[in-house]
Symmetry: C2
Subunit: 336 residues, 2 copies
């Protein structure tokens, strides 16, 4: 594979043998992450099916997930539940079914994908958004729900009834407030130029549980750093195995970023493990994704036949996945 | 006097007789306002002495206050106390004393004068300043003092530990926070464009005691509206009487604005009495100030002789006090 540290020609010829031994590696990840099947399927729809048209025959999803050791029966049950929860829309064709990602499901992915696949954070503009839920009298239950939902959007507590974020998602905030229907004051602006720089650290420490967030990233790093070392020793990654690794990588990274309020890098402590986790995730993804896509191309289909090629946006993930030469050749063998 | 509704020629000729009867009017104001002598002297230094060099012989201050019925002994005691409190700096010259307004005293006046004499509020830029005292752990006593002082600067409560003002005095805020030495987050910015307009009313209602403030202004209007009607019937205002009225007017207006947080007009309810009070104060001031200044010119002196003419800034009070012709002639009789 172009752009990655080259395997020795000997190792390349012995590809199958290397692959055989490495099931241990996937098994170890599965044991460590203990993913739920439903959660894995959501990951797969977001990471592997959405950019291939968003539709898949049930049988092909079962085949896709086989390298992860998920049993057919478990996939069937999980897909049924995901349809009930509004993620997937089933369509019966004879005795078979296609499951298409719904509008709702797509929207849910968008925010997560923006966080996972962008290469780096944009520079912070130095402004803060302050949301005061208090001016109008508010029912306790409504306020608690509002604060919880603002928390999910990454807002931290500045004071009772007042939440803050340095770089929030304006559209998501607006949608939430429209949904809640309660009057709040939302102000965005820079801190006064004469505010002491330590104040920003104090706002971050008071508003968010940074230690817990750091622990989430450390757990991710502990799990996936050995994988990087192991993959450095491999010449060629077998498609099914690449797919299993990529899916588990996305599963682990989604879990790590789950509670991340996406504060600008400028506000995080030195040596913040979130930055290392992002770098490791990107490197691993680029290492295995061509193999993973080969598995998708080989297995995934709908009632109309094979799924479309990956959309151009796919190749922009993590700031660009491949060189041009590699893009042309990615369906089959590595071009190098 | 140029620019005010003209008296009839008859009334003008009977000026003295009208003046004689009007002591009742000053007495009525004094009875109603019940001003303390020390407070009156502060008003006089701010309104009548500061723009004439800021220095005055004790004897001339006694003469200046005579039309207000303040006894010589009371003036002496009050001046002594004001010197102790840092407002005035005495200087002995033989057996007499000059009292000069101190730097501290001048600074204290500046903020008040800016509020009293400016013609109208500048348009609001639509931004809010939010001060969060909470991010760093803070001692309860320090927080309470900080919130009280912010309250004096006009800030209202947005939530526990968070105060807000739409149009605060940045220099005063910065000075206060430097003095307190506690870390706070200060953010200034516009509300999001999609925030419901009712939210601003709710912020104002929750943050400030608008009813009490309105009552202060209504009390001022009740006291001074009859004065305006009475002065309309007079042809010429005698200097000592003009001075007494102007001083009581400033005393009453300062009391009325004492608790005013100076919110932009755009945020106040319709028919806000603060606007009427401002208009009445301006009209009364322009009606009597030439007479009042004539009293100051005739009476006020220092060890070096008469005080300087009024500084140019004086004529800019309330958006401009006189026409050019009237300015030239103001030391003596009204030019009309």
């Amino acid at each position: 594979m172009a752009g990655t540290p080259g395997p020795s020609p000997d190792a390349a010829r012995k590809g199958e043998a290397v692959t055989a031994g490495s099931d241990t590696l996937v098994d170890g990840l599965v044991a460590r992450l203990a993913p739920k099947a439903k959660s894995l399927i959501v990951t797969v729809y977001g990471d592997a099916i959405a950019h291939r048209g968003g539709n898949a025959a049930l049988g092909s999803v079962i085949a896709l997930l086989e390298p992860l050791g998920v049993a057919e029966r478990t996939v069937r049950t999980s897909m049924f539940r995901l349809a009930q929860e509004g993620w997937l829309q089933p369509r019966a064709i004879g005795r078979r079914s296609d499951y298409r990602l719904t509008e709702t499901g797509s929207r849910r992915f968008e925010a997560v994908h923006e966080r996972i696949y962008r290469q780096a954070q944009r520079p912070w503009d130095g402004q803060w958004t302050i949301v005061a839920t208090g001016p109008a009298p508010i029912d306790t239950a409504v306020r608690e729900r509002l604060q919880r939902d603002l928390g999910w959007q990454g807002f931290g507590h500045l004071a009772g009834g007042v939440m803050v974020h340095p770089d929030h998602d304006e559209a998501a905030l607006r949608a939430l407030l429209a949904e809640v229907g309660h009057h709040v004051l939302v102000v965005r602006g820079p801190a006064a130029s004469w505010v002491a720089p330590e104040v920003f650290d104090e706002v971050v420490r008071a508003g968010w549980d940074i230690a817990r967030l750091a622990a989430d990233y450390e757990a991710f790093l502990d799990t996936f750093r050995p994988l990087w070392a192991a993959l450095q020793r491999e010449s060629r990654i077998e498609p099914a195995r690449g797919f299993a690794i990529r899916t588990l990588l996305m599963h682990g990274y989604r879990r790590a970023i789950l509670r991340d309020p996406k504060l600008p890098d400028e506000l995080m402590p030195h040596g913040w493990p979130g930055a290392a986790a992002r770098a490791l995730c990107r490197n691993l993804y680029r290492r295995v994704e061509a193999a993973a896509e080969a598995h998708v191309s080989a297995v995934l289909h709908t009632a109309e036949g094979p799924v479309p090629d990956a959309s151009p946006a796919y190749f922009g993930r993590f700031g660009g996945l491949r060189t041009m030469a590699a893009q042309v050749g990615f369906e089959g063998e590595p071009s190098s």
